[in-house]
Amino acid sequence: MESHRRTADGTAANRNPAGLAGSVSALNGHRPAALDDAAFHAAAQRILTTVNTVIDGKSDAARLALTVLLAQGHLLVEDVPGVGKTLLAKTLARSIDCSVNRIQFTPDLLPSDVTGVSIYNQTSRLFEFRPGAVFANIVIGDEINRASAKTQSALLECMEEHQVTVDGHSYKLDEPFMVVATQNPIEMEGTYPLPEAQRDRFMARISMGYPDMDAEIQMLETHQSASPLAKVTPVVTTAEVAAMITTVQDVYVSQAVKEYTVSVGRATRESPLLRLGASPRSMLQLLRAAKATAALDGRGFVLPDDVLQVAEAVLAHRILLDRKAAGAGETAHTVLQGILQRLPVTHASAGQPGTRPARSAPASGLGRNR
């Protein structure tokens, strides 16, 4: 772990003074060409294979992490200690040939440690900006809820706008940029829970969960002598990831799927069990995650299934349960599942298959109204 940190810092240090502006413009100036399906698929498979060799039996979590990366979102990994949250984040970062920074959030961490600070250069007699840990393609924020709210909020701008403003000067961050934060939901003493605004910045929250028996035995074997992380070598380049992101952006979204996505959001807002439903930003992120899912699935268009597949990961950490519902034993999971199971799927044509639900829906609505 120590070695990794050094290399990551070293990469960042090597690159930052000289190549900061250049690399950003190289990635942001023109839009990279989209990959064709085969290349996209091969690259995605390489990343997933790599992650799966390190983290046993968690292919779903790995796939979702990749989905978030390709959808240009940020990932919040929440689970009890010792299930491989940090390992997942680090493996994903290492499998891509990009800069990785790791921030261990501690109660005394300052915002400037994250964003960077202007220091006076004795030689040039000028203030120079020394970039903080956030200047990397992938930023691993470990135990993010251990830092004070002040420090946490230093991430707000980076995550939403992919830039840092220090002393009135804005610095663009590298693309792709992804924050992978971990937090421990059990031991809350001395922590600063993420405020809603901060949580809303994360595209998805996943919990690792315990591995199954075989995977755990496998883990004991492979992790005996040395950390498998050491053997991880990058399998895709930054440019490839950027091209993959472009591919995802090109995924077609039909009107019906947009309607379905919006109806999911509206259903959460109208649910009596929820105090706070999903925000419009979350709808955007839901759709982006769905597009990435579709692309990973090898499809050029989004299905309602893609929306369903990521809906819980994207929405569960944003909604707030009503007190009564929480008292009745409902969780975000159960409420969302209930909403999604009741929500009629939108069909594009009002043709044959759509007619039946469409016909029965107003009828039941009438019945309810009377």
């Binding site: 085969a38 039909s254 268009f301 299905l303 043709g351 044959q352 298959p353 009377r370």
Partner: protein, 837 residues
């Protein structure tokens, strides 16, 4: 909805949404009165159709006053803004008041408040009404009892209709209450409800619906255009379904001439009792399909034995019934004396052991003329005039007794000698009622006027009634509206020449009496069937046993011949047995016409000479062609019926096949994919796995393949591939980019390697949706069990569901109504509770 200030929450809301309600407020004042008028019109209209159940129109005035008083009391209370429950309660009070005023004025206080004696009188009237219902046939005389019951029922209907229409807000449900009124004439009167009654009821019903719609608070504020088209479509749909059902159902139902409730029979919740008037229940017993009231008897009589229960001799009045003559009855202790002398040379004495079983009647079945009866339980009396035996405190149920009876050995010669005027009998048996229809009188004169002796007259009448003109039918009197008895019925019968024993017996009895022969109608049982068992009877040894049941119930005339006593005849064709003395004396060779069904045999005089032996060959041919004509028709009808039934049974299958063929017709890919998917969903539905509304195509397809198909790599590989191809095709069509949707599955290989990877689509591309569907269907069939396969083929749920959606619409409406009632009841209960606090 009412004018009441918003006491109940529902009304409060309704008042709030009337933004432009100011001009309507004046109209709202009219609402209770308009509604009351509509209700009164509907109920009075339904009451119109009771004419024919009750005779004449005298009963209509009390009905009218009752309905009007009750309905306008309700309106007045509602106009005073009383509580809904209070309004209904007031309706009950008004009903009690008007009934007291009409029927119990003498015993009441101030004319409208029931006094102490009122309840005794009420009891008496209800008793009279129930007597009327039990013992008379429609149309019944409108006595005070039945009219009071009718008034009370109609008044209650008004309250019910009003409560349904106004406080419960279910005006459509009032139709059920009105229908309940119309059911009575529809069941009792042969000509059913009648035009005017129906029209007036429907008009009232429509007015009720109209009133509640015009004055409904939400009316006019909702989106009129959308609402009206929806209503119109739904109304048209419901109306056409109802019309088709009304046309089809009577054609399909075979008719009520058999089964548990045959046409013309009456509901008899009191068991197999013969009731107060056996003349009335006789037709009913004959029509019972299962022959209840089985009696067994063993006799040593040599000729077929008629068991007689009671006689009818008074032909006055509209409805004949037995006269009990309770005051002159003699307690059954010693021998029974017929009261007249029999001058015949020989008397036949018969011993008959009778077991009545479950037959429950006041009158004891016994062969004529009984001399002694042994073994009875309870108190019994006999009538010296008719020798009918009647229980005073008991019925014939579970009686086992032995009757000794005697009958003179009658011969035609003996009867022909009896010419003297009748003595020894009361004039009840000879009196001719004043209102005999002229047609009956003239028929009697034509038939028997020329005959010399009384015996010849009797024979002439019997011959006339047994002639080929007359047919035996249990149904035609019902259909012709002359089921029952009485002189007017008799006239109808002689005109229609079709009826059953009651008609024949009364015709012969009346015609004989017109010809001066004392007569009466005996009611009882025709000779029964041998059971094949023997019963030991004390002093007689084993005697063979016979049985009769309700279907053998019979009526026959008894004519009095001076010196010979009462002599039974048998004018009813195909029933009973013609006594030897009553067969045609001129044709002694036809002794075998004892075997009753002489309506099938031609009259003795007309028997054609038995010619068939003359030319055996051509005759059958001729007969064959001659018979083919009339016989072909039933065959054709039967075949047509079978064909129609088969078509009806196969219609879901045919419909399903048609839908499939229409969907899979070759067309361009854009149009084909959704149709193929619809076919897949219907296939799944047929095999018990309908798609849910919140199920994505992919999820449904996966579920279908998981639960209905076998292993993806096994035998069902083709079906799995087909389902996958159909699913991706549909997804592409529905959610894919527009240009890709048009390209169809051919494009999918190139752009979509991953989707094809887990289940390689293989050479699926040139395959049409039809091939996919065929493969899928074959696999579904192979994997399904027998019953499911049968259901999927012959009653496919996908089709039945659509039919069910159509046919279920009324039931859903009822369900909504019931839910609405429950909610409204809860609301009004809460409102009432709130009002009391």
């Amino acid at each position: 909805m009412t004018l009441a200030p918003p006491r109940t929450p529902g009304q409060g809301q309704q008042q709030d949404n009337g933004a432009g309600a100011a001009p309507r407020r004046a109209l709202v004042g009219l609402f209770p009165w308009a509604m009351a008028a509509a209700v009164a019109l509907a109920v009075c209209g339904a009451a119109l159709s009771l004419n024919g159940v009750l005779r004449g129109w005298n009963w209509y005035l009390p009905v009218l006053t009752t309905v009007l008083v009750v309905s306008f009391t309700l309106a007045a209370l509602r106009g005073l803004r009383a509580q809904p429950l209070l309004v209904t309660f007031g309706g009950f009070l008004a009903l009690g008041g008007i009934l007291t005023l009409t029927f119990f004025r003498s015993s009441s206080i101030l004319g409208v408040i029931p006094g102490g004696d009122t309840f005794g009188e009420l009891d008496r009237l209800i008793g009279r009404a129930s007597e009327t219902v039990l013992s008379e046939t429609a149309p019944v005389a409108p006595n005070a009892g039945i009219v009071m019951v009718v008034c009370a029922v109609l008044g209650l209907t008004v309250i019910l209709v009003d409560a349904l229409a106004v406080p419960l807000g279910m005006p459509a449900a009032t139709g059920a209450a009105l229908l309940a009124l119309l059911v009575v004439p529809a069941m009792i009167k042969p000509q059913s409800v009648g035009f005017w009654g129906f029209v007036a009821t429907v008009a009232g019903y429509l007015l009720i619906l109209g009133c509640s719609q015009w004055f409904a608070p939400g009316f006019g504020t909702q989106t009129d255009a959308a609402g009206s088209t929806g209503h119109l479509r739904r109304a048209a749909l419901t109306g056409s379904v109802a019309l088709v059902a009304a046309l089809l159902v009577p054609a399909v139902i075979p008719g009520f001439d058999q089964g548990t409730f045959p046409q013309g029979s009456r509901l008899n919740p009191w068991g197999t009792s013969t009731g107060l008037n056996p003349m009335i229940t006789l037709g009913n017993s004959l029509r019972t399909p299962d022959g209840t009231g089985r009696i067994t008897y063993a006799t040593n009589a040599t000729s077929p034995l008629y068991l007689r229960t009671v006689t009818v001799e008074n032909f006055d009045g509209d409805s004949w019934g037995p006269d009990d003559r309770n005051e002159s009855r003699i307690r059954l202790a010693g021998p029974i004396d017929p009261g007249y002398q029999v001058l015949a040379d020989a008397q036949q004495r018969q011993v008959t052991a009778i077991d009545t079983g479950s037959l429950s009647s006041n009158y004891l079945p016994a062969p004529y003329a009984p001399e002694t009866v042994r073994g009875l339980n309870g108190q019994w009396t006999w009538d010296p005039a008719t020798l009918s035996i009647k229980g005073t405190d008991t019925t014939s149920r579970r009686q086992d007794y032995i009757v000794t009876s005697s009958a003179p050995a009658l011969t035609p010669a003996l009867l022909a000698r009896s010419t003297g005027p009748a003595q020894d009998i009361s004039d009840t048996f000879t009196r001719v009622p004043g209102n005999v229809p002229a047609s009956v009188r003239s028929t009697a004169e034509t038939v028997a006027g020329a005959a010399g002796t009384q015996y010849q007259k009797a024979m002439a009448i019997q011959k006339y009634l047994r002639s080929a003109d007359f047919t035996y039918s249990l149904q035609s009197p019902v259909q012709g509206g002359y089921d029952g008895n009485g002189l007017s019925v008799l006239a109808d019968f002689l005109e229609q020449k079709s009826g059953y024993c009651v008609h024949y017996a009364s015709a012969m009895a009346v015609m004989a009496r017109l010809q001066g022969i004392p007569s009466r109608i005996a009611v009882g049982y025709a000779p029964g069937r041998l059971t094949g068992e023997t019963v030991p009877v004390a002093g007689q040894g084993p005697l063979s046993e016979y049985e009769v049941d309700g279907r053998d119930a019979h009526a026959w005339p008894e004519l009095y011949f001076q010196g010979l006593g009462w002599v039974p005849f048998e004018p009813t064709p195909s029933r009973g047995v013609v006594p030897t003395y009553a067969t045609e004396a001129s044709a002694p060779g036809t002794a075998d016409s004892l075997d009753n069904n002489d309506d099938l045999l031609p009259e003795p005089g007309q028997v054609p000479s038995p010619a068939p032996s003359v030319s055996a060959a051509p005759v059958p041919q001729d007969n064959g062609t001659a018979d083919a004509g009339p016989r072909l028709l039933p065959w054709l009808l039967g075949a047509g019926g079978v064909l129609a039934g088969g078509l009806l049974l196969a219609s879901p299958f045919l419909l399903r096949t048609g839908i499939r063929a229409r969907r899979l017709r070759p067309r361009n890919a854009t149009a084909a994919a959704p149709l193929a998917w619809a076919e897949l969903a219907d296939l799944g539905t047929d095999y018990g796995l309908p798609p849910g509304p919140s199920e994505t195509p992919r999820a449904y397809s996966a579920r279908l393949r998981r639960s209905l198909l076998g292993e993806p790599d096994g035998m069902d590989r083709a079906a799995h591939l087909a389902a996958a191809a159909l699913t991706t095709g549909y997804e592409r069509n529905q959610y894919g980019p527009p240009e890709a949707a048009g390209l169809g599955p051919a494009n999918q290989e190139a752009t979509n390697p991953e989707a094809a990877n887990p289940e390689p689509a293989g050479p699926a591309d040139p395959a049409s949706p039809r091939d996919h569907i065929d493969a899928l269907q074959a696999a579904l069939r192979a994997n399904a069990g027998g019953p499911r396969r049968f259901i999927a083929t012959w009653v496919p749920p996908s089709v039945m569901r659509r039919l069910g959606f159509l046919t279920g619409a009324p039931f859903r409406a009822v369900g909504r109504g019931v839910r609405g009632t429950a909610q409204a009841a809860a609301r009004s209960w809460r409102g009432a509770r709130g009002g009391l606090r």
